[in-house]
Symmetry: D3
């Protein structure tokens, strides 16, 4: 039966996040829609839906992790397909939004690709978007369609809280993350410290810890880990400054290149992340100390609320501080 | 000095067609603009121009051949960069436009990706486009910005004419190309024949030649060759029907998968194509009988005319029949 | 009761297709909406609806046959009226879309009027369109609103199939129609032949039949017949090549100028077409051998499905080959 | 040489105002651009320009008088052609804009066609417009592109002033024109009177003159005359109220239906109008007492100023009161 | 329960019309939505809704009277908030629309701010608008979203009719209002007269009454009263011409500057207006002879009909003459 | 003479920044354009330009400081006026952009007003913008028109560097400013410290200094100072932690409410800011220790470069770190 003008939920999964989509599908008790997603010999991606979505409330779950541009293009083609197939409403569910770090001109003659991506999603025909922990909350403003930007930091905080670390400190590995790290620390009732990186030459830089980490369990927190380079340096530095254990918490396990290998070898107590990006098996097995929290309950809950016109805001504290 | 409101030509090359761009650059006597085009570890593409393009008449040459989605995304990011760097005008020069075969809904619930791509190019900020032998002329209408769609078929025809084949026939390997094949034949004052493919079962089909090819030199003509499957069948069929030699002419050498290998082994007299797509060396060496005509004179001529506000139409016959 | 956010179907007819609209109205069991459509003394067209359409699911049926520009303008004004009268959704049902042959720049400095028309329909405020056998399937991509492009060729094929012609051949009178003619032939399990027209001078041209028609019933197939000139030549030619009977099948009976007279005098067995365009009585009586199949069941079926959010695709074979 | 980023003026004429365009062409000393404007047998209008307009400053002069919808469509197709032919700037010069009276919803469920027309002109690709005495000045706001709305009332006023009518009064035949009539009267230093029309039944109405016309020369002024019905009644009424002579001044001689005949038979001293609309010869000869003032000097002056970036405002008094 | 695709009515009030909104709220039996509307120390306005509006049918009532720009900005921010909070539909209810007199370029180099305001309302995300007696009906055409422009003149007319003034005349104080004054007169079956203002020098002007007011009750009618200057002059003039009583009827009591003081001192029988704008208490007490008719029944009736998809037109006479 | 398609610079000043505009005017040697900017009795703002801007390169300098909404509306009306007056290009020069802190949804049901403002500037008709130290660099991405976002921090850094403070530390008073503070520190080769604010109850919070300030000159740096509340607390705290002197550097002196008074009474060595916002005289005299650096050289330099098509980037270090 139609709620608010749309038919039933129909749920599709791009090839970037099959496991997560399956989990969402189970929780929603809505089967994944049948479709062919083909990459032809000429690399052109093609989508064909197996059954009608006319008037339905369509959700396409597609993360834009590796292969980034293929996954992004697949998302856009899916949206176009759903729109032209006369879906009642098309919501792009993007657990991890690529290009979010290209969000401003911080030097002359560079692009603002995150705005471009938002425009592409809109021009393809999406009516709404749902995403998770954008690198900068302002990226919400790159969209003129409404959307729901969720945060998985409370998930990470809940997990860490249960460890009852008695002498701990939250550490921002990057000053751009200072405020969110403070908020994370506040949720855990812990102090906060910062790592300052300062270029000392064209190819060298010096790191300093500002704040007190000595004899403490340091919890490095960030939105994503890419190559792991920052993390490698940070972990070493924290031990140098006297930290007794180091934990790493981040939402998006991008883990580019040999990041998994590097992280696997770090003298780190535990890595805590989510399945916003699916870690391929060969990388996963290099990470014995990793804990992956599922964002499926979060995303499926939001999809349900969006569909039924119930508040999404009430799932979170009014001011959660992660946007 | 400014002509028509823009400064000088500034010319950039995407990574998809470096050789062609160099050739265009030489012909225009305009150096390729310095820039960094980086694919970060997380696969996000990033562009940074080395010098100011403010007010200039910018041309970005980027083909969208393999890797298709990376090249397409790079093109869009280049356009955004040029727009935000305040170029006076941004022209996307796209020798080969991917996704052109996804140009209509010929079955339910499929995308029209070619329109999506046109919209993406516009929303990124291109003021104009230049392209070559679109799969369907109607794709021009997918753009609302003005553009120049050129054809390289006269190049191919000129080359074939000089062979003075006395008993030849032009053959369309696909009925969708019948009309353009007739026009190609007309330019060469040759008759035309068609290969009809008809499905006979779910996985089988029968081919027939309609028209007379016996004891003739058959010139198969098409806009692009992808996997080469159609061509392999066509060549064999034409010999079966009594053709004495077979030539293949096509503009865009997509040559996906093992197409180069297949074509290299065909009992074919000559393959004639263009450099709208750069054939990688390892494929090229499998194709001893290939002749590659350069579209650089064509593209550089048009860029010059666009810049100077001179007629592009006068480079072609009024009705050339390849749109 | 509202389905998918819109109220009941309300159905209006432009003055271009009153009979067809009445037939659709009967089949839908929805009366045509009362309205004044006035062409003032100054030729300005004016529309006034007699009752409220607020929130309703409005369909305006208007073909764009002669008088073409009046009918087109009337369609646009109807759409604007429905939008500003706060219809819940406005669907333009256009059995025949004019200007569809002006769909590409095949020579310099000409318009792409079909894209212009699509833009005009959108800017007037249509949410969707329904149309029938576009000259080129790509015109779907000229719209960014979703729509349903239907085909009446299966209707024509069904009708011809029942004749059980034992030795017949399908003939494309224009090479641009070669592929669709092949598909039509495939549906009837018949071979296909082509008529090639080649200019031989500024005002002269030569016609050739490619393929075998001797001693066969030839079925000429095309999307529309305009002046009938092509047809007159084709029929004569087919008899010259030994055809024993000639049938003509086409969807849109444009029949401009004295086309009806010319066709009426042709030595033709039967003309089979549809009522996508209403043939005026004075023309109709010149065509004794014409059979008109109604597209009203098709259009009313689709309107119902669009309204109820049921699949339109399942009315057709997945790949019907007429787009 | 390029002024302000565009090349030379290129000037085209639609078929709606050939004489006026020729006069403009002579005054600008710019020949009319060669072009084919064809109405095919199927009534589709087609435009083809004979030479390149790339980068030029294109002006298309087309009035939208009878045949209104054909002329409007021709204007739009011309604009699309010029845009896609890469004109540097496209200015639509529309001496008379049709549908201007359909400018508001003054009853439920009617269109605002004037806004629709403005949107159509923009979506076709016009960069600017020039027009003359819009029915309501607010129609300027229907455009978001810049434009120049000119007035020919000073022309009419200058002409009337030279008659040195000693006892005259300006009369508004419609109360909607009261303010502009007052302004016209002010320019001539004459008093003003009004004709009030009041419906007295469904098909009857009563007319009253408000103000003093007895023993005076009455100068009826209006923006356009359509069927002439209002005028016929007004002239009789003014004589009934004791006017000694009646003059009629209006900018746009729409003269629909038998208006010319009716006006020709009126006991009127002189009709003064302009060539914003070309009066066909057979109508013209019915109007012995008509004086036609040319708007060509006005339009060519403005075209020149637009091209050269000089003030258009200084051609008029700062507040002329006719918008 | 959802009607036509939206949830329940949710009703918000801007700070510009709290009393009117409360009255509407009572009539609709829908409580005003809780929200914080804050003007920070830096004058930035901020809106926060207390509960979810997801999928609901949201109406924001905000007049744009003094402080005009603050109220306008607050309206826009409210719309943005509702859109981004995923309201199903956002309707801007604007009893008085500011800037409506800046609706055309009646002199060179001035803005058309009313169009700008319409664009701002649309770009902020409104789906519909409801407003009351626009200065010019054409402003409806500045919006491309649908809307309902209502009139309160029948309210004023009903009130005046009950006075049974036996010898009365309706007077337009401005010639731009002549036609609407005639319509108001027609509703009351009264004659109409006009005041003509004519500039006689740079800073002086002369007023004349055209029509008969002697020994009559004069009812001045206008859409709004701003500084009251026109009215002060008109009242005096009417007495000079022999009127025995003067009434003033207008919809929007803008009453800028010391207008209330001036009007309070006028020898006027009664001022009749509406609460489209809330008259502040200190002004109200200066106006002993004022009667304020409430537009709340009108606005709440329309909101209900918009929500339920019932005709708004049937609340008015088909052609009411006030647009 | 026209450079890049536009005429000469024409420069207008809104009423929000008359002194700054005058200084820019002097530096550019371009007089401020004559215009009337009127706030009518009804508070509607009106703009009228005194002379033609047709084809010229127009710059309107208007800051959006107090009165914020009036100044913003005035800016938009100016842009509309310039566009409709046919300026060749319109650049909005906005030294201080209001609403920049409303740049993301950091809690449910709040607006993103900064995006709304960007959209309003674009819909009004600006072709470009120039602004200074946006609160978040991402706001650049809210615009799809190109623009130049400049920074005045190097100005502040140069001024501070000349003091040769031997034992100093840069302090970020807000963790959201941590990264930019680090960059400011890096330019001065100084260490950096942070003030952490943590809510301890609904109405209370605790402040901590993280990093070393003891016996140092503390330089608090921020983008703007609004009420001064943060600053008052920070200064006290720094002295508590042993700082020997405190300096305050910020670009935008918003100084709302009694901020000037509060700052004037602070035990602070020097306040260093710019004239991006004009401090009214009565506030200025409360601030004896203030130094105001002019951004006029910066803005006039950029205007010149934008006009002449020369690089703006080369005025800054490639990566300046303040976006």
């Amino acid at each position: 039966m139609a709620i608010f003008g749309y038919g039933d939920i129909v749920l599709y999964s791009g090839r970037g996040c099959q496991s997560l989509s399956s989990e969402i599908s189970s929780r929603l008790m809505v089967p994944l829609g049948g479709c062919d997603v083909i990459k032809f010999a000429n690399e052109n991606i093609f989508v064909r839906l197996h059954s009608s979505v006319r008037g339905q409330d369509a959700f396409i779950v597609q993360t834009t992790s590796s292969p980034v541009n293929d996954n992004l293009m697949e998302l856009l083609i899916f949206i176009d397909t759903l729109k032209r197939a006369s879906a009642g409403r098309v919501t792009a569910v993007i657990p991890y939004l690529a290009y979010a770090r290209s969000d401003k001109k911080d030097q002359p003659r560079v692009p603002i690709t995150a705005r471009l991506v938002a425009d592409m999603i809109q021009v393809a025909g999406a009516d709404r978007y749902i995403t998770l922990d954008l690198h900068a909350g302002q990226i919400q403003g790159f969209f003129s369609i409404p959307g729901d930007t969720l945060t998985a930091f409370p998930l990470l905080a809940d997990y860490m809280r249960e460890k009852n670390l008695d002498e701990a400190v939250v550490v921002a590995a990057d000053l751009g993350f200072a405020k969110k790290a403070r908020n994370f620390a506040m949720e855990l009732s812990l102090p906060v410290a910062f790592i300052e990186k300062r270029r000392t030459g064209e190819f060298s830089s010096a790191l300093t810890v500002i704040g007190d980490v000595k004899d403490k369990d340091a919890i490095i927190v960030d939105d994503e880990v890419n190559t792991g380079g920052t993390l490698v340096n940070a972990v070493q530095l924290l031990y140098d400054y006297g930290a007794r254990n180091v934990y790493c918490c981040f939402v998006h396990p991008v883990l580019s290149g040999n990041a998994a290998e590097r992280l696997g070898q770090l003298p780190i107590t535990e890595i805590v992340t989510t399945n916003s990006i699916e870690i391929p098996h060969e990388k996963f097995k290099l990470l014995p100390k990793i804990t992956i929290l599922s964002v499926a309950p979060l995303l499926s809950g939001v999809i349900n609320r969006v569909h039924e016109g119930r508040s999404v805001g009430e799932m979170f504290k009014p001011y959660h501080g992660y946007s």
